[in-house]
């Protein structure tokens, strides 16, 4: 669907992107991660042809990316705004026309979204009359109005309240089900973990990690398990003795806990359950995979360390 081959870009001798390659499959949600200033927005702008790369090639559906492809892309930038004095409908019409839609198409699609988000009353309202969350909904509608094949969202959840985050996530999943491809950059790791199929991590203008979310987490696991139980915490710790290490705990209520345990030596999950049985009442036990956030921090720190050593 979208293929980036060794994209490089520098601004006045400062390298913003260093040979970054990515490949987005049709119908997947792809997360672009990285700390501030890593080069994510530059990469997104290159895909949208707002900025031109110095080196490398962008392909859209196996064709060299050109301006006519822009009509198939929906782009929601991080720095986004609307004309304060224009009405909601006028915005839709204006931005839809710029994306090459006819007035009729704009009307049909606009009505669909207005009904879906139940915001029919806003049609004639000026943007300055709307709350921030309302304006963000309008921005989202304007981004998807022309039914793009590829949706690029830069920090789509920033500034949204949890209800709207949920709403947008639902919409994204639905669009994915319709076969649309979605690329999003976000600092909201929880959302990324929840809806992204694959992610890439960009740090200091380089891609340092790419892969399926589940695989990345699986490959970073370090033998941690969680046990939910009722009983005495002291009994639990005593049972662990030297074979296991208590890493963390959560108190759920009176004598109810979740304990996070690391294996020591040759011990495995089986052994853990055996030493615990009879000491406490086990309610549930599971393997703990590192969250994307943890992987993210790990990778960045690791990358910084190797950088320092050099």
């Amino acid at each position: 669907m979208l293929k980036l081959e060794a994209i490089s870009k520098s601004f006045y001798q400062k390298l913003a992107l260093d040979e970054v390659s990515l490949n987005l499959e049709e119908g997947e949600i792809f997360g672009l991660l990285g700390p501030n200033g890593a080069g994510k927005t530059t990469l997104i702008r290159i895909i949208n042809r707002i900025v031109e790369q110095d080196k490398g090639v962008v392909r859209f559906k196996n064709e060299l990316m050109n301006n006519k492809h822009l009509a198939q892309i929906g782009y929601l930038p991080e720095e986004r705004g609307l004309y304060r004095t224009m009405t909601v409908y006028d915005h839709a019409l204006f931005l839809g026309r710029l994306r090459g839609m006819s007035k009729n198409d704009v009307n049909t699609n606009f009505n669909y979204w207005v009904d879906k988000f139940e915001i029919g009353d806003w049609r004639k309202k000026r943007i300055e009359e709307l709350s921030k969350g309302m304006a963000q909904k309008v921005q989202f509608i304007c981004t998807v109005l022309h039914q793009p094949q590829l949706l690029i969202l830069d920090e789509p959840f920033s500034g949204f309240d949890p209800i709207n985050v949920e709403l947008i996530q639902q919409e994204l999943k639905e669009m994915k089900a319709q076969g649309k491809t979605i690329m999003l950059s976000s600092h909201n790791m929880k959302s990324v973990e929840e809806i992204c199929d694959r992610v890439a991590l960009i740090h200091q203008s380089k891609k340092i990690l790419e892969g399926r979310v589940s695989q990345i987490r699986e490959s970073r696991k370090d033998g941690n398990f969680a046990v939910r139980f009722s009983g005495s915490m002291i009994a639990f710790v005593n049972a662990l003795w030297t074979g296991f290490e208590l890493v963390d705990k959560e108190i759920l209520g009176d004598n109810r806990f979740v304990a996070y345990v690391k294996m020591r030596g040759e011990n495995n999950f089986q052994d853990l359950l055996q030493v615990l049985l009879g000491q406490i009442q086990i309610e549930a036990a599971w393997e703990v995979l590192p969250s994307i956030q943890e992987v993210f921090i790990q990778e960045i720190n690791h990358s910084n360390q190797t950088q320092d050593e050099k």
């Binding site: 949208n48 707002i50 900025v51 822009l70 930038p77 224009m86 931005l95």
Partner: protein, 445 residues
């Protein structure tokens, strides 16, 4: 181009809805009408009766000027050439307020000189010029009756009566016709400034409310810039059209109410005109009668409205494009609105220079610097208007096209350079603008 058009239309719609657009359409024409009224009612020394001596060595005018006596102007004719100094100092000429010099070339170059002792009021100057023009027209028609209508129209170009102070005939500033051009040039500058600032504000607003990146995903920066300049430019032209409409109506109303007796052309000329135009069709007669009846038409003729207006529109359009591009580039590169305000000062200084150049041209029409000013694109919109009103010397009329061409080509160059600035600056936020940065952006493709 299609996208530029969509941008332009949105911009136009927003302008039309703004209160300032409507306010300007009302205040502007009122101001123009006020100035016109003052020129007619209060301008100059208000001597109520004038004696004019017409020196006419070739007896071109056949010692006639009007069919009926005019209570405010009396004419005498002299069939020999009188030196200006002689007229100024000789006691026997002291009873004349002015001398109108007619030479044998008048029918070709359509320029005559009027030497006055005291600067005439606008009313008086208009009246003398008008009567003189009508008489010459009669002569021309009499001389060329066999000509076709289109040739007659060609002849019927207005006469340029250059006004000079008899005590200081070299002082070309006393020629009032240039002021009309200066006024037109001033209007051009006013429009450039007001709508240039609109471009600047509109772009920095788009930057500060961050919609610009959404737009840039569908539109190239150059298209966006061009669309903005176009949209606001169309608004400027609509505004201008409203001015013409309101000023036209206002002048007509003024003719009917404020100056009913200023110049009753119908009484003076119709008799003569009908005799002279016996051979013309009824339609043409009606056309002429209508033409000579209206005060508004008089003003139009006095300042060669058709001609002026055409060039005015051209210079306004391209001058606006030229300056507007600077405003657009400035809006795009500024990091904040206060940045834009700082950097707009040099632009305003340039506009003032243009105004000064216009005034300079008014006082020194033949100076070398004036010709330079008429070619430099920053000053040419005003200076060319002044020169046009004063009348280009015989055979040099093409110079206005040279000026126009230079302005047009410079606009294209500026547009190209501004496109780069726009492209490189539009997505930069929150910086402090410096010249170093400007050069960096302009040098980058």
């Amino acid at each position: 181009m299609k996208n530029s058009w969509i941008i332009a239309l949105r911009e136009l719609k927003e302008r039309m809805r703004s209160k300032s657009f409507i306010a300007m359409a009302i205040v502007g024409p009122l101001l123009v009408l006020g100035i016109t009224y003052m020129l007619f009612a209060l301008g100059g020394k208000n001597k109520t009766h004038w004696n004019v001596l017409i020196t006419d060595p070739n007896a071109i005018m056949q010692a006639k000027i009007m069919a009926q006596e005019d209570a405010t102007v009396s004419y005498d004719f002299a069939n020999d050439y009188i030196e200006i100094e002689d007229f100024a100092n000789n006691p026997r000429f002291q009873k004349y307020d002015a001398m109108l010099e007619v030479n044998e070339k008048i029918l070709n170059n359509k320029t005559a000189f009027l030497f006055y002792r005291e600067k005439p009021s606008m009313q008086m100057a208009t009246r003398v010029q008008y009567q003189f023009e009508r008489r010459l027209e009669e002569l021309m028609i009499a001389q060329f009756t066999s000509l076709s209508v289109s040739d007659f129209r060609k002849i019927k170009q207005p006469i340029n009566v250059a006004m000079r102070n008899v005590y200081d005939p070299r002082d070309e500033a006393s020629d009032m016709s240039g002021w009309v051009g200066f006024f037109f040039g001033g209007v051009i500058l006013l429009f450039i400034f007001l709508f240039g600032m609109t471009i600047l504000r509109s772009i920095s607003k788009e930057k500060s409310n961050r919609i610009v990146e959404v737009l840039l995903a569908s539109v190239k920066p150059r298209q966006l810039m061009l669309g903005k300049i176009m949209g606001i430019g169309i608004a400027a032209f609509l505004q201008f059209a409203l001015w013409i409409l309101f000023v036209g109506i206002g002048l007509y109303v003024m003719r009917e109410t404020l100056f009913p007796d200023l110049l009753d052309a119908s009484k003076m000329d119709v008799v003569q005109m009908t005799e002279a135009m016996k051979n013309q069709t009824l339609q043409e007669q009606m056309l002429s009668a209508k033409e000579y009846n209206q005060f508004v038409e008089l003003i139009y003729e006095r300042i060669r409205f058709g001609n002026m207006l055409g060039y005015f529109a051209l210079f306004l359009a391209v001058g606006y494009l030229f300056y507007g591009t600077f405003f657009a580039a400035l809006g795009a590169v500024s990091g904040s609105e206060s940045d834009g305000q700082q950097f707009v000062i040099p632009l305003i200084a340039l506009l003032f220079l243009a105004l000064y150049a216009g005034h300079y041209a008014l006082n020194n029409p033949t100076a070398e610097l004036t010709s330079w000013f008429s070619y430099i694109p920053f000053t040419s919109p005003v200076v060319c208007m002044v020169k046009l009103a004063q009348g280009y010397p015989e055979g040099q009329g093409y110079l206005i096209y040279v000026s126009f061409l230079i302005l047009l080509v410079s606009s294209m160059l500026v547009l190209w350079a501004a496109g780069r600035l726009y492209k490189n600056g539009i997505l930069q936020f929150g910086h402090r603008l410096g010249f170093k940065q400007l050069f960096k952006w302009i040098s980058r493709a």
